[in-house]
């Protein structure tokens, strides 16, 4: 139960961190660290992303993007569901990520 409480707190903190994540109009898809596709979220479509390690199928519907099929063993990326804001969808086994962020999730700031 203590473990559960810790994770709930973690979840709450993470939600807080992303509370300002605005819906994005586009998403950037990276495979093996390379930008392979920029997706317009206003257009319903299906994309197949190939990386060295495997493939993911992305489906855009009603302004949101979901991974609907993937060759990865765990399917975590599929369980992320349909999204239009960060945090990103990451498929670690395939080294594929989908980033929505337009103002969040930044690694560093140049001043």
């Amino acid at each position: 139960m203590i473990l559960g409480a810790v994770f709930l707190l973690l979840a709450a903190l993470t939600m807080l961190q992303y509370r300002n994540a605005a819906p994005s109009a586009s998403a950037a898809v990276y495979a093996d660290g390379i930008l392979v596709q920029t997706v317009d979220l206003s257009v319903d479509a299906t994309y197949r992303i190939e990386s060295v390690e495997g493939w993911n199928v992305l489906t855009v519907q009603d302004g949101k993007l979901a991974v609907t099929a993937a060759s990865c063993p765990d399917g975590d990326c599929i369980r992320c569901g349909a999204k239009n804001s960060d945090p990103p969808i990451v498929c670690l086994p395939n080294r594929v990520s989908v980033q929505f962020s337009e103002d969040g999730g930044v690694d560093a700031v140049v001043r």
């Binding site: 973690l10 063993p73 337009e102």
Partner: protein, 337 residues
């Protein structure tokens, strides 16, 4: 509680928390280690991936502290101060930096000038006692200023009495290059923020691009743009909002125009340069701020080995074409190739 029921509780919670936090059976993201230090007159934030022992972090800190000691124009015992006092050096780092500064100064029509220390001092930017010089004072300093005062041979730098060198426009970029080489040699990745000089190294452990926020000149809490960059890149901003003073309602920024010996007066708030080499990004961001957007655009067209973001007073943002697909978060104009 059984393991299964615990998992049923945790998985939805983790989904809520963000999918990138989901534990993965195959590839475990390497831990990031972070450390902040103060060197070269600025705060430096270092984030490394996969440096479990902390040895690499210590190497980087040693590099930065060493450059801090050797290249400071104000510390009484630095190698640069020794040159500025004696007028001669055969220090390999100083010879290298001077060689590069002369080349970039020539490429930018003199917009980069490393002999401006006496001028900067008179305006108060090195001392903190700011003030607009009296008429005639700046002209009197002109005798000691100018890249043509520097005599460079393959192994030595010499300067006449009264001329002083200052590597403020390239030292942090050079520091980023040395740190990057150290990380690459060890096969590690990370992101280094050397007082606004950013250096990404390698690939993030999750394979995604580095997300770089470019600060809004009017609001430090906001980004004017976000850049998605892959691999090792140097990103450097020069702006009028970093160090400045206001006298009689006029803002005087710390970037001096070598032609007027006065703070740059134009309609630019900031220039950001993205390129492979930190030293070049650092020096070019200063030079491009001095040049303004139109002359800067011509410079870019003649070189094309760097990308630029110009942020103007009225809020207009201009990008070179290579950044068009990497930038988001605001409207921008793209300059003609």
């Amino acid at each position: 509680m059984t393991k299964r029921s615990l998992a049923c509780l945790l998985i939805p919670v983790l989904l809520l928390a963000g999918c990138n936090l989901l534990p993965d059976a195959g590839v475990k993201p390497r831990e990031a280690s972070e450390q902040s230090i103060w060197a070269m007159d600025t705060q430096m934030d270092l984030r490394l991936y996969g440096d479990e022992e902390g040895n690499l972090m210590q190497s980087l800190i040693a590099i930065l502290n060493s450059l801090d000691r050797e290249l400071s124009a104000t510390a009484p015992d630095s190698k640069l101060t020794a040159l500025n006092e004696s007028g001669w050096t055969d220090d390999t780092q100083i010879v290298f930096l001077t060689t590069r500064a002369l080349a970039i100064s020539e490429q930018t029509g003199g917009a980069l000038d490393i002999t401006m220390l006496p001028v900067s001092r008179r305006w108060g930017f090195t001392t903190g006692s700011y003030g607009v010089p009296y008429s005639g004072e700046l002209e009197a300093l002109r005798d000691n200023v100018g890249m043509d005062k520097i005599t460079l041979t393959e192994k030595t730098v010499s300067i006449p009495d009264g001329t002083k060198l200052d590597f403020g426009a390239l030292a942090k970029g050079y520091a980023a290059d040395l740190c990057r080489a150290e990380l690459e040699q060890a096969g590690k990745s990370g992101v280094l923020s050397l007082g606004g000089n950013l250096q990404t190294v390698g690939t993030k452990p999750d394979g995604s691009a580095w997300m770089i926020g470019v600060q809004d000149p009017d609001d430090p809490g906001r980004y004017a743009l976000t850049l998605r960059l892959n691999g090792s890149k140097a990103i450097v901003t020069s702006g009028d909002y970093q160090r400045y003073f206001i006298q009689d309602n006029i803002r005087y920024c710390h970037i001096l125009d070598p032609k007027t010996l006065s703070p740059v007066r134009g309609n630019l708030r900031a220039v950001t340069v993205v390129t492979d080499e930190g030293l070049r990004a650092d020096a070019l961001s200063t030079a491009l701020f001095v040049l303004g957007r139109e002359a800067g655009t011509e410079l870019w067209r003649s070189q094309r080995d760097f990308e630029v973001i110009w942020m103007e007073e009225d809020g207009t943002i201009w990008l070179t074409p290579g950044l068009k697909d990497l930038a988001s978060g605001n409207d921008f104009e793209v300059i003609e190739p």
